[in-house]
């Protein structure tokens, strides 16, 4: 490491940089020093960690023409970039010589988050080193660019990337579907060479770990509906028609526009400020052709967008909310609706019929026109805007059926997972020990998701900490006096709960394993196997009772 830093420092001086900022031991102490003489560089130290951002700032402030190189760690670089973003510093004259932090250092600084065995990544960001050109086009050693899932494909990411800024653990991961190395296209070692922690394992592969658990919480969430099939709203046809999730990224500080609400220009780049915005509620929700259910959160996030646009783009920006009904059901929600009305947002009751770019009036030229009806005024409308946001439905995930089967959870008609009872057991499922949390059970906002999930966690823990489980009394019993020892039941039992007692020559049910399905009782040729509470005698008595009643008084 030291050698590389030193050789980069030497070449910087040779290239004519005025100096190299690094560390030097003087009077028994290591401190910052501006090296100007290449021979002095022998004395350059890289340990311990020292923050240079302040020194660089004062150096560059005192002489803006200065060109210096500096041996810096990831945290320093991030600090400088932040200063640059705030306009306090111009990094034009600075060359960064990277010092990758050691694992120990990262732990000491608490820079390190919990580690997975195979990943010794310290989260130094060196492999994804931020390029001054912007967070979107992070220049790193990896040559591959893939549309970023996190940013709803509005920006690109590398084949080695940290999934999103708040990822836990905050670690780089490799996309083996795109990485040249893992695909066997090229012996690319870009990231491997850059990573000083040695965290990138060339032969590392995804693997499946089996973990034994006592309870399971299913929290698989939802899918946001793809509005492409609703052709009338022009998603994908017009570049400035966005889904709500796309808008979410556009207004987010870590998103592709760093939180500036911008629309696409003719070239497709995000550069233009929208002069007016239409927000279309209930796209694919409360619609018999797509989802009959209400997605529950859209009214409120649409209000959030209304407020954000007013705040970020300007209070004079017209925002049109096209709604069916405003459902502001939660604590403080109605008040927020009122606040948005007072901020001047225009609420139009009526679901729009179409979004088009076919202007028929001069003021519609170059705009998207939302065609709809104000059902309160009984008037047809054409509203020209620059940006259209579609509040698309929250749907059950596409893989719900498979996931449900895996855990023995059924689905409601809307596809979401079915709770055991809508009022008395909204967190439980028909399978003991499997709980539901969040939107996999039905559309919810974050407060409701958190409440639901906390409840599920508590119930799961209650079951786990007790240390024992109660088994149903309705389990099978094989009468040893009747059992002929044919062993038919053993082959039928889906839980391997029946064993053969060779000594007595009879089959015996293991009470801890039997689930009481009655496959054995249904088949037992001699009638020895019977499920308690569902014995033949009991069923026959029930049957006789039913028939006797019908014969006495009719159906």
């Amino acid at each position: 490491m030291r050698e590389r830093v030193k050789s980069e420092a030497i070449s910087s001086l040779e290239e004519g940089f005025d100096g190299v900022l690094g560390l030097k031991r003087r009077w028994g102490q290591v401190g910052p020093y501006l090296f100007t003489d290449p021979t002095e560089l022998n004395e350059m130290e890289i340990e311990p960690k020292y923050c240079h951002a302040k020194a660089i700032r004062s150096l560059l402030e005192s002489d803006p023409g200065l060109r210096i190189a500096a041996a810096l760690r990831g945290c320093d670089v991030r600090a400088l970039r932040e200063l640059e973003r705030l306009g306090r510093i111009d990094l034009g004259g600075l060359r960064v010589i990277d010092i990758g932090c050691s694992h120990e250092q990262a732990r000491e600084c608490n820079c390190e988050k919990p580690t997975y065995e195979t990943l010794t990544c310290t989260g130094c960001w060196k492999c994804i080193d931020a390029c001054p050109a912007g967070a979107i086009e992070r220049i790193n050693v990896c040559p591959i660019l893939v549309p970023s899932e996190w940013n709803e494909k509005l920006s690109k990411r590398k084949a080695i990337y940290i999934p999103f800024p708040q990822a836990v653990p905050q670690k780089a991961t490799r996309d083996s579907d795109h990485c040249l190395r893992t695909r066997g296209v090229l012996e690319c070692k870009g990231c491997e060479n850059a990573c000083d922690a040695g965290a990138i394992l060339p032969e590392d592969e995804a693997r499946i770990d089996e973990i034994e658990v006592g309870t399971i919480i299913v929290a698989t969430g939802y899918d946001a509906m793809d509005p492409t099939p609703l052709k009338q709203f022009g998603y994908r046809e017009y570049p400035n028609v966005f889904t709500a999730l796309e808008f979410e990224r556009l207004s987010n500080a870590t998103g592709p526009t760093r939180g500036k609400i911008l629309i696409r220009d003719e070239a497709g780049g995000f550069t233009k400020r929208p002069e007016s915005v239409a927000i279309l509620h209930c796209i694919g929700s409360r619609d018999v052709h797509y989802n009959e259910h209400c997605s529950r959160v859209c009214c409120m996030y649409a209000l959030k967008y209304t407020h954000l646009i007013k705040e970020k783009v300007g209070h004079d920006t017209p925002v049109y909310d096209f709604y069916i009904d405003m459902r502001c059901f939660g604590k403080g929600y109605e008040e927020f609706y009122r606040r948005c009305q007072e901020e001047g947002a225009i609420f139009i009751r009526g679901k729009p019929a179409e979004v088009t770019d076919q202007a028929i009036k001069p003021e519609e030229e170059g705009k998207l026109i939302v065609i709809g009806e104000d059902t309160l005024l009984g008037r047809r409308l054409r509203v020209p805007v620059d940006m259209v946001i579609l509040c698309t439905a929250i749907e059950a995930r596409a893989d719900s059926t498979d996931v449900g089967r895996l855990f023995g959870v059924s689905q409601s008609p809307d596809g979401f997972f079915l709770e055991e009872h809508p009022k008395l057991a909204p967190l439980k499922t028909a399978t003991d020990g499997v709980f539901l949390a969040g939107t996999c059970q039905g559309p919810k906002d974050i407060p409701d998701t958190v409440s639901h999930a906390s409840g599920a966690a508590a119930q799961a823990l209650a079951l786990a900490t007790r240390g024992y489980v109660e088994v149903s009394s309705a389990i099978s019993w094989i009468d040893p006096d009747i059992c002929a020892g044919c062993q038919t039941c053993i082959g039928l039992c889906a839980y391997s709960a029946i064993e053969f007692d060779h000594l007595r020559g009879v089959s015996v049910v293991n009470e801890a394993m039997c689930k009481g399905c009655g496959s054995c009782s249904g088949f037992c040729p001699s009638g020895a196997a019977q499920v308690k509470h569902f014995k033949k005698k009991q069923i026959f008595a029930e049957l006789d009772g039913i028939i006797a009643a019908i014969q006495a008084v009719g159906v």
Partner: protein, 140 residues
Amino acid sequence: MADFEPTIIAFVCNWCTYTAADLAGTSRLTYPRNVRLIRVMCTGMVDPQYVVKAFLAGADAVLVSGCHPGDCHYINGNFKARRRIKLLKEILPRFGFDEGRLRLTWIGASEGVDFAHTMTQLVDEVRALGPNDVRSQMVL
């Protein structure tokens, strides 16, 4: 014949069809009262004897209904039931029973509407078949 009210015995599994029937009830859906449910834990529990006994006791039709294939709460009980009903359907006609009087359906826990609909349809069909008089012809 027009005022013939069939008696139908339905063996329904606790996890799917019974829950669906419950849902039909809490959703205030109506279906003919000719169907009487006998709850079992799983269709795999339904011994062929139960079906025969129901017919002999005077049922005009017997329905066995459980979870959709693959959804059985006990892994594969409904597959076992399916095999058994198939065999029963082959055997019953030899005793003079119309095999159409034995039905097997899959109605999932959330399908309350489907449950009410299936029951209505079943009752209509059995009404068209007329009373099950095999019992009276048998020497018991």
